[in-house]
């Protein structure tokens, strides 16, 4: 790696499909996976004389997202035609937004509780509402065969969210995407399913280098075709190294060559140059005469903001403060989504121990969900039942290791924590019993007693095993401390 030799400069363009029932300009269904060419009409097929009409819900979802991303919403917005020819674009232009987008100038805060990068406010240039194109299917084996076109997706509402080139590492890019996706999911504006194309990412990457002649920038490369956040991270890392090699060889600076588009090849883990879609990318934008502009009042914007609800960052801060848990814990829980947050909060309240509840959710609950590929709604132990167990651990009625056995038994039996504990013969050992056991073992092990008196506390370890054999219900922590205290007086 050559980290000190260059700085990576990353900007991201995210296209997110808005969760509407129908398309942006006609009332065809947006349902994914329908048989080819069964969700089209004269509008999305570009028949002469058809007229697009804006989907109110799509615009509202766009507004909601814009507010959550701290974007400014102008009172006036309009749509434009972006002209280019491609077989999956029946009109010969895409209805998009050019000079007066529905929102601009926002930001997204990214942080890393593990401290791998400093908190960063990533600027968002704009978020605008546009329509999707259809799908081209290429029969690569046949080579020269026809391409097949499915126009079901044509006209599906997309929000294009364009960041400033503010990110400085692949990790930061991934953090931006993760946080953005989380916000979109909390808002319920998109299902963000990357496999189904509901969320697509393009990355613009170049390097800033320090040279004896001063700071120089390498030509910007746009990377496409990344199908996961991990792919984005890897593609950017690869591209940075590649650009550095090319720089050493050619000394090409930004402006010396045209902006290049490269595709990520996930199999080979490399980016490859793509053919130019246009000889020149001259989209000849002009105002869309078929659509009326949209105006939004300050009152309407205020109303959208008021209804946003709590966003991930606010929930993290609140969980930290309210339940006294570390930032890392709050991050893990919130990143799982709203339902996990609800589960955690109920568990924390019912058990009365926020940190312990957090440990149980992170370690046991999430582990089981992962093993069984379940969503938290389907988790077999209700918060009420789990709270009884967490309470027992908090009250030292049971130690952590045995509590995990109880948890395992509760998982598929439907039994309550007290029931299982009773069956396993687990009950809290009273203090006099514990004292007797302590004295008995210390007297029987003079070597350990001598070590303890000298302050070698780890010597007590030898006794814990013996004590557990005599009474499996003892709490090792309490027993340990009692031995130490008692040895001093013996």
């Amino acid at each position: 790696m050559s980290e000190s030799l260059y700085e990576i400069v990353i900007g991201l363009e995210v296209h997110v499909q808005l969760a509407t029932q129908t398309k942006l300009f006609c009332r065809c269904s947006t349902q994914y996976g329908a048989p080819p060419n069964t969700q089209t009409c004269p509008v999305c097929l570009a028949m002469p004389g058809s007229l697009p009409v804006m989907n109110r819900t799509a615009f509202q979802l766009g507004l909601k997202t814009a507010c959550a991303l701290n974007l400014q919403i102008p009172n006036f917005t309009k749509w434009d035609r972006k002209n280019y020819y491609y077989p999956d674009l029946p009109k010969g232009y895409q209805i998009s937004q050019y000079d007066l987008p529905m929102s601009q100038d926002g930001f997204l805060l990214i942080t890393d509780p593990k401290g791998q990068f400093e908190p960063r406010k990533v600027g968002i240039i704009r978020a605008h509402l546009e329509e999707d194109a259809g799908k081209s299917m290429h029969d690569e084996a046949a080579g020269k065969a026809d391409s097949r076109i499915d126009l079901n997706r044509t006209g599906t509402p997309l929000l294009e969210i364009v960041s400033e080139p503010d990110m400085r590492s692949p990790l930061e890019a991934k953090a931006y995407l993760t946080e953005l996706k989380l916000i979109l999911e909390y808002l319920g504006v998109s299902d963000c399913n990357m496999q189904e194309g509901s969320l697509r990412v393009d990355a613009n990457v170049n390097l800033h280098l320090q040279t004896p002649e001063g700071k120089v920038a390498t030509p910007i490369v746009e990377i496409k075709n990344m199908n996961s956040f991990r792919a984005v991270e890897r593609a950017i890392a690869f591209e940075a190294e590649r650009q550095y090699e090319v720089w050493l060889e050619t000394k090409q600076k930004i402006g010396d060559v045209a902006k290049q588009t490269r595709g990520w090849d996930d199999q080979a883990q490399v980016t490859r140059a793509q053919r130019y879609k246009e000889e020149s990318s001259d989209y000849r934008y002009f105002p869309e005469p078929d659509l009326a502009p949209v105006t939004t009042t300050d009152e309407e914007i205020a109303a959208v903001k008021a209804e946003l609800g709590e966003l991930p960052r606010q929930i993290r801060d609140r969980l930290e403060a309210q339940y006294k848990i570390p930032a890392y814990d709050a991050d893990v829980i919130v990143n799982q989504g709203q339902t996990t947050v609800n589960y955690y909060e109920t568990l924390a309240k019912n058990s009365g121990d926020g940190k312990l509840a957090s440990n149980w959710v992170q370690q046991e609950v999430l582990r089981v969900l992962k093993e069984r590929s379940l969503e938290i709604d389907a988790f077999p132990i209700s918060t009420e039942r789990l709270a009884e167990l967490v309470k027992a651990v908090a009250g030292k009625e049971i130690d952590g290791t045995r509590a995990k056995d109880v948890f395992a038994e509760m998982l598929d039996s439907g039994k309550s924590a007290p029931e299982v504990m009773k069956e396993m013969g687990i009950e809290k050992v009273d203090d006099s019993e514990l004292e007797n056991l302590c004295r008995e073992l210390l007297e029987a092990n003079p070597k350990v007693l001598a070590d303890l008196k000298e302050g070698t506390h780890k010597a007590v370890g030898a006794l814990i095993g013996q004590a557990k054999k005599k009474n499996p219900n003892i709490d090792p922590g309490t027993f340990r401390q009692m031995c130490i205290d008692m040895s001093a007086k013996m």
Binding site: C28, N37, L45, F59, K78, P87, P289
Partner: protein, 96 residues
């Protein structure tokens, strides 16, 4: 302003039209005439006139997000020069 042959060449390329030399000359003349005609609008003084984004003073035309029936596949594909059972067929698209 009159259009040059290079301007027209560029527009024809963007429009995926292949023009012969003869057509290029004709088109350059005709397009220059059209642009020249529209250019007369520049003679108007629009200093105090607010720019319009739309020819009709109309705003906020929305439709509810409620599904309506789509065309059948056969209807959708009816005008296609080339098709198969499911899809439009077009000459292979290179460059993805």
């Amino acid at each position: 302003m009159s259009l040059s042959q290079d301007d027209v060449k560029k527009v024809s390329l963007l429009s995926r039209l292949l023009l012969t030399e003869e057509e290029l000359t004709t088109m350059t003349e005709q397009m220059s005439d059209i642009v020249g005609y529209v250019e007369q609008l520049n003679e108007l003084d629009t200093t105090d006139v607010e720019p319009m984004a739309h020819a009709v003073e109309q705003f906020n035309v929305f439709a509810a997000d409620e599904r309506a029936p789509s065309l059948s596949r056969d209807e959708a594909l009816a005008n296609a020069p080339k098709r198969d059972d499911e899809c439009f067929r077009v000459p292979a698209v290179l460059g993805e």
